[in-house]
Amino acid sequence: MTRRQTGVLLCLPALLLLAVAFVWPMAILARMSLNETADTGALVPALSLATYTRLASDSFTWQIAWDSLVLAAGSATVATLLAYPMALFLFRTKSRYRNLLAIVAIAPLLVSGTARVIGWMAILGDGGMINAGLRLLGIPTQHLINNWTGVRIGLAESVMPYTVLALLAGFGRLDHALEEAAATLGAGPFFRFWRVTLPLTLPSVTAGWMLGFVLAISAFITPHLMGGGRVFVLATEIFDAATQTLDWPAAAALSVAALAGLSALMLLQSLVARRGSV
């Protein structure tokens, strides 16, 4: 038996598993999107793009697509702005607690998303921490949950650990000698940050933002639980079509279209990143 044959044999169980439980389901999903749905809601086997054209001619589809983009972009921006100083601090600190602080930054990943939503309800809810504070100060209370504001905050927090990791991974390019050189030449701290630190870390900021964006636009738990049924995004729409209205062709077509959009976006980003590094 050649090395190659041994290799294929060793991979065979994993490949079989992925064929059955990954490639096959994705093929079924793509095939499902070409079926049609009758007015009664019944599934009509077909081989057409009717479901795609039906969704594309519905202005609600474009509305939720746009809302999803805006929401994910907003959450990714909040997450990146908050994560940047954390990553910079972790990169520079000589503290003996550095490893502990790095672990704390990604610890939320080990806590279930539902539990973190519960935490946000206690903070943002009508009887939550912020509104309790506002009442104490005699300021009118605010609706901070079961709307877009709440979902934006919750999503920003849920993608932040990944953003910190992505930023930290890219900070290797940041050479402290360059910042010192700028200081020697008389640059003040803020000028130094603006003209040296930020430009050097900009590629990792783009990568971190992009990761946050992709994760936020694919997220389902947070928009569903923190939106209180008033926030409609692509993920909640796909889930409802699959499990509530049982319009499987629509759920499949939305998924395929969303995947195509995301792939195009990631391809664009890698092209831009490659051009930037040349």
């Binding site: 041994t6 389901p25 499987w248 995947l259």
Partner: protein
């Protein structure tokens, strides 16, 4: 020095934002109120008592543990040989790409595809269906950690064993596997935690008679807002921390998974 102070101050805002919900979950789990309100009117263990008496939650927890244990064992059985082939450069490059591909896909889309594929086979809301689905999610983690762990082993040890007359299987069993044990334990732990925590894909595949703890928590939060789920979360956080610390003491996560 001054910029360092500003960075540290801004970093502490980030930490506060990131950790606030976790702290509040902790506070809420000890609330004496029957609904979520801050500050709680008093502290008690009533939600932990309610949790101990909640049969639906404990049944779901039992299912989750069994499911995660099965998934972990099968993922190691399937993932280890594949990781060995990738680490030795014996596998075609597309295999390595395919092995991590499920991670690139949103779980919602993967769950939807699995629902559509498993429904005609009557595998929805069954153990085999859930195990298959979780295996796909867990396998990329297992193969990735095991590939790193196996590639770090000195290659000439197996060759030495072969020179001394050991068959390839015996060399693997007696030399490679014991040396790779820290990686095996680390990937088993991660596999268990990922399966136990998985919720989006499971949502499509559970049924009234078979559900997981994360789905039960999700469904509960959908319909009611009281601190019960906070009590579940605190229990899980304590258990997870114990497991992670124990494994870290045993094999050193930072050594096997790579330093953060």
């Amino acid at each position: 020095m001054k910029t360092g102070g500003v960075t540290a101050l801004l970093a502490s805002f980030g930490y506060a934002f990131l950790l606030a919900p976790l702290v509040l979950v902790g506070v809420m789990s000890f609330s004496a109120d029957s609904y979520m309100s801050f500050p709680p009117s008093g502290f008690s263990l009533r939600w932990f008592e309610a949790l101990a008496q909640n049969t639906a939650m404990s049944k779901a927890a039992r299912s989750s543990v069994i499911l995660a244990a099965c998934v972990t064992m099968l993922a190691l059985l399937v993932g280890l040989p594949a990781a060995l082939a990738v680490a030795r450069g014996q596998a075609p490059s597309w295999v390595a790409a395919l092995l991590s591909a499920p991670l690139l896909l949103p779980s919602l889309v993967l769950g939807l595809g699995l629902l559509m594929a498993l429904q005609p086979l009557a595998l929805v809301a069954t153990w085999p269906g859930l195990v298959l689905a979780h295996l796909v999610v867990v396998l990329p983690f297992v193969t990735r950690i095991m590939t790193t762990s196996l590639a770090a082993l000195p290659a000439d040890l197996e060759a030495a064993a072969a020179t001394l007359g050991a068959s390839p299987l015996r060399a693997f069993w007696r030399i490679t596997l014991p040396l790779a044990l820290p990686g095996v334990i680390a990937s088993a732990t991660l596999a268990f935690l990922v399966s136990f925590d998985e919720v989006v894909i499971s949502l499509f595949l559970v049924g009234p008679r078979l559900t997981t703890l994360s789905v039960a928590m999700f469904r509960y939060t959908e319909s009611r807002t009281d601190p019960l789920v906070a009590a579940v979360a605190v229990t899980l956080i304590v258990l997870t921390t114990l497991v992670v610390v124990a494994v870290d003491r045993l094999v050193g996560f930072s050594r096997t998974v790579g330093r953060v």
